[in-house]
Symmetry: C2
Subunit: 218 residues, 2 copies
């Protein structure tokens, strides 16, 4: 049970960087959008979640554009680390999937495609089986809800790689089957249609996910 | 892998009722919308599916409004039976869930709520565990995408029943926990906001679903 517009989750980030209360949102929101809002364990939203940024200004740092940028970068790094831990700790997870979509018509469409892949039971069971299943990735991508219809795909421009090895290119499988092992796996999907991109973290769907959620009783 | 806008599925229905080619759509589409388009095994769409109605007119039946209605009713019954068999045969399924949503502001909103419940991994693992988990049903209902936001719920008007026994009423659990067993389970959700209603059939999420989809290799 963890998905953007998240599950029962409280994250508190503290800093001694000096921020006026009205500024916090402009630093925190983009960091959260790119991290906490790009993870999924099972696509289930829940009743409460919050990311809080507390800044006491104790460092007395002089503010300038470059320091602001450094702070924004560091804040995003902290949020990314916390978000990744949530997925790694997902119910029954055996592998951390990093799904990267590039070449979409827009970033928003890339997010929609990445989210659909990240929540696909077939992609997630294939990940549990360590199968570089490009068919399931493409089927999920093609069924991503977008603009009242579905995301745009051109088979001849698609490229799918698992852990950096292309398994599907220019409308056909490459015939290469990388050996997938270890606690992390990357899936790269290139759509070849534009410059939009997005990344998403997800866990796999396993026997233990079923056990943990079927044995629990109200 | 079965969901509205379906999976790899071909259904051929034949009849000797006399229909002009242009009429077939007006009989078949509402039947399919209420049956084949209201089932889900795991929310995964696939690449091809079709329901075909062939009518050779061999019966020479005289057409009138009442016979047309009888034919439409029979056609819907056949489609409902075929659709139900698909779900019962879903990968690893141990229980057929019938999800009925009533009291929505519109039929379309009721469909969105029913679909979200039907595709919720938490509802489907609870069903596998035979747990009358009203919390998961309501969490799924409240996260149903609708009109660019979420479906409308008023906790004080909600009622949830499993196999006809109310487990949640007027904002609170009833304290009754029906014993769920057997190959079918009904979940009734009353929203208390209008007259919209919809039904959906779904399978549960089980160890065998994971096994069948994780062991299969490209």
């Amino acid at each position: 049970m963890i998905h953007p517009r998240l599950a029962t989750m409280l994250a508190i980030v503290t800093t001694d960087f000096p921020l006026a209360p009205a500024e916090v949102d402009s630093f925190l929101r983009p960091a959260v959008d790119a991290t906490f809002n790009r993870i999924s364990v099972d696509g289930e939203c829940s009743t409460n979640d919050a990311v809080v940024l507390l800044a006491n200004g104790a460092s007395d740092t002089e503010r300038d554009a470059s320091r602001d940028e450094a702070f924004a970068h560091a804040l995003r790094g902290v949020c990314a680390d916390l978000a990744r831990q949530i997925v790694e700790d997902g119910e029954g997870a055996t592998v951390l999937l990093e799904i990267r979509v590039a070449g979409a018509a827009s970033d928003d469409e890339a997010v929609a495609v990445a989210r659909r892949i990240a929540t696909s039971p077939l992609v997630k069971t294939a990940a549990f089986g360590r199968d570089p299943n490009w068919g399931r990735v493409l089927a999920a991508a093609g069924s991503a809800p977008w603009n009242g219809g579905f995301a745009q795909l051109d088979p001849d421009r698609l490229r799918v790689a698992f852990d950096g090895t292309a398994v599907f290119e220019r409308g056909a499988p490459t015939g290469v089957a990388p050996v997938l092992s270890g606690p992390a796996m990357t899936i790269d999907l290139e759509l070849g249609l534009g410059t939009g991109s997005a990344a998403y973290l997800a866990s796999d769907l396993t026997y233990d996910y079923v056990r943990l959620n079927a044995e629990y009783t109200t």
